[in-house]
Symmetry: C2
Subunit: 165 residues, 2 copies
């Protein structure tokens, strides 16, 4: 641990280092979405559909409102996406049993199949990157990403795992 930086050797905080980090995020995010994008381009779907499918798969039975909070878009925008997914039989919308105003969202078999296809592609790249960098790098990666989130998003990021018991 070389971070006894009372001597102020904060080389990793120079503007140049920060700029490189910014550019790394930009280029890496392109890679991050490239594989699912290629698959989606062959269908009538886009990145917005992928995001919806991902989080429905992750939290089956989630409500529309909850999904809105996670995705950070308007209900009109999400509704357009959900409507096509429901019409195409990839997502099922069930009226809530306790609160009948809510719609609980689930993937159908077909929806789960697409989710798996997209997820497999994205995880394969992630796995390759993790393997190349090693476990300690991965731990650092996760730490920095988490510190970069808005507090509310960080809360939601953790909430997803707490919910799945």
């Amino acid at each position: 641990m070389s971070d006894m930086q009372s001597g102020e050797n904060l080389l990793f905080l120079t503007d140049e280092q920060l700029r490189q980090g910014i550019e790394a995020m930009f280029f890496a995010y392109r890679g991050f979405t490239a594989d699912p994008d290629r698959i989606l381009a062959t269908m009538a779907y886009g990145r917005a559909h992928h995001r919806a499918i991902h989080f429905i798969a992750r939290s089956p039975g989630t409500t529309v409102n909850n999904l809105l909070g996670i995705l950070g878009v308007t209900k009109q925008s999400l509704n357009r996406v959900l409507r096509t997914l429901i019409a195409d039989g990839l997502v099922e919308s069930r009226v809530g049993s306790s609160d009948k105003r809510e719609r609980h969202l689930h993937l159908t078999e077909e929806g789960a199949a697409l989710e798996r296809k997209l997820s497999d592609a994205q995880r394969a790249r992630m796995r390759a990157a993790y393997r190349a960098a090693g476990p300690e790098a991965v731990a650092g990666f996760r730490q920095v990403l988490e510190a970069m989130m808005d507090p509310e998003m960080r809360r939601k990021y953790h909430a997803i795992r707490e919910a799945e018991s």
Copy 2:
């Protein structure tokens, strides 16, 4: 269907860990763009303008074609953005001296001022995240991001620094 975890304990490569990494990328990227987006929203500009301004600032005199390769969009899409930036006096387009077909792009004083404003905001968040995570985490962060890029993008990512002599 897991890998045979031969010698090492490859816990960091489980599907659950990979999913968490995917979600961390998603939420962190939102934070990453949030501050510049807020600034841009007050003007008639968007994220596309920010990207153009960033890379012109980084490589002054870069050509349109080079910028196209970095940004990964069509020339029509980039041209629309550049046209407004040039019309608004933030970017200057100079005909190449050796090859007069090329246009070399530079920021004007006004353009550089906006770049600084956007960059300051984005670097502030980056700096806070780096400081919170520490230098070793930052090293890991950079390693994983780089491993995540497409090879061609990785090449361009490095080329930017080589070019600035």
